[in-house]
Symmetry: C2
Subunit: 217 residues, 2 copies
DNA sequence: AGATAATTCAAACATTTGTTTGACACGTCA
DNA sequence: TGACGTGTCAAACAAATGTTTGAATTATCT
């Protein structure tokens, strides 16, 4: 029972949104350079001139995809605040686990995370936006955790290095997946790998930080 | 005073080698896809048809660059065997330090390492060769170290995960450099950063492995 | 209903890039 | 010296790709 619904406005948003969704997917799979406008339009069921009409050019579409992705994420996760107070060790486990979920995600919405991860290693004009809007908030959150774990006497540099030590272990499984598949095919199997991996990285990292706790250096 | 030197053989090798060196450099900078044959030839001081003449096509040149790189490395480092027996902790420090040297290398020969690192995240038809000839030997070496550090009761899986935890911390600084530069410009400064980083990663990793030592899991 | 705006479309265009071509120059050998 | 092989070159070619064009279609508004 739709009354007073601007049907055409929906139709308009339809093509544009289909382009954004298709572009997100293809860009995440292939990266910016290897993605053709023709493939995006094919996947979106749109004509090739639609990209120019709605976005201007390929690069602007790419930038718009990140903005769209950010809106979608804010819809899904309105607030990044933790709901329950947890000990920092547990918080780290949650952080690692959720980051790995994103890395190993294979669903319809997986392109959001995958595209960010790809932009990290194949930087384009969008990187500044991605760092400001997606990476820095995550990084700040992690650094807060790490600072808590290290205790009050840790230098900014130490907090930074430890944070990098944590996040690098996680993103490695996305960035170097083709290598890992060749070195150890069994590493990329089964869903249980994610839980084991999260446990390993968390334990390794918590222990790894011990030498630097409470003003030790 | 050159006597009996096949001057033309040298000239012949000259163009071919110049192409290989130039290609190595450009491929390392831009990756396979973003590199044009025209730029390689320009840097090598060769005509554009030279690539087809000497190598057949762009992809074969790319593969040949890795073979050439491997030969060069074998010339420089005939054996990967350690010269002096060291405690495993020290060996790990040496491993991390030398890997970081490669990552932060800026000299004429730096393209060798940089190209391998790039191939890890932007895989091409060369990846199988690179894994077999460059990455797996390094990985096996590191796993030997890690197994020694963990003691005799560690599972293969644990050795693997710990090895990944070490190497991921190192390669992160190459693969995600553009992000790091935006997050923390001071992180990428000064030569002393490399030493500090090597110390940090070594300490973090040695401590990180402690929970898994001597059959702990 | 007609005027205007928005959207879509197929074809064309412009540029880039890897590859090829055939002539020419140079080197080697009998 | 001439025949043959090797290497270089400028120009041309072929294909891919992003972008543009102008007509047609659809939607909106008075």
């Amino acid at each position: 029972m739709k009354l007073n619904v601007p049907a055409i406005a929906d139709e308009q948003a339809q093509t544009r949104q289909q382009l954004l969704e298709a572009a997100g997917t293809v860009f995440a799979e292939r990266g910016f350079r290897n993605t053709t406008v023709r493939e995006i339009c094919q996947r979106a069921g749109a004509n090739i001139a639609a990209v120019n009409y709605h976005f201007g050019d390929k690069e602007k579409l790419y930038l718009e995809v990140f903005r769209y992705s950010r809106e979608k994420e804010l819809e899904r996760f309105p607030s990044l605040r933790e709901s329950a107070p947890l000990p920092p060790e547990k918080k780290l486990a949650v952080f690692v686990h959720s980051l790995l979920l994103r890395i190993f995600d294979t669903g319809e919405a997986s392109w959001h995370g995958q595209l960010m991860l790809r932009e990290m290693i194949e930087p384009t004009a969008a990187l500044d936006f991605v760092v400001a809007e997606k990476i820095r908030p995550m990084s700040d959150h992690l650094r807060g955790l790490v600072a808590e774990l290290l205790g009050g006497r840790a230098t900014d540099e130490r907090v930074r290095l430890c944070s990098f030590s944590v996040v690098s272990q996680c993103v490695f499984y996305c960035h170097c997946d083709p290598v890992i598949q060749r070195l150890d095919p069994e590493q990329t199997a089964a869903d249980s790998s994610l839980e084991k991996l999260a446990e390993h990285i968390t334990a390794f990292s918590l222990a790894g930080m011990k030498p630097f706790r409470a003003g030790k250096k």
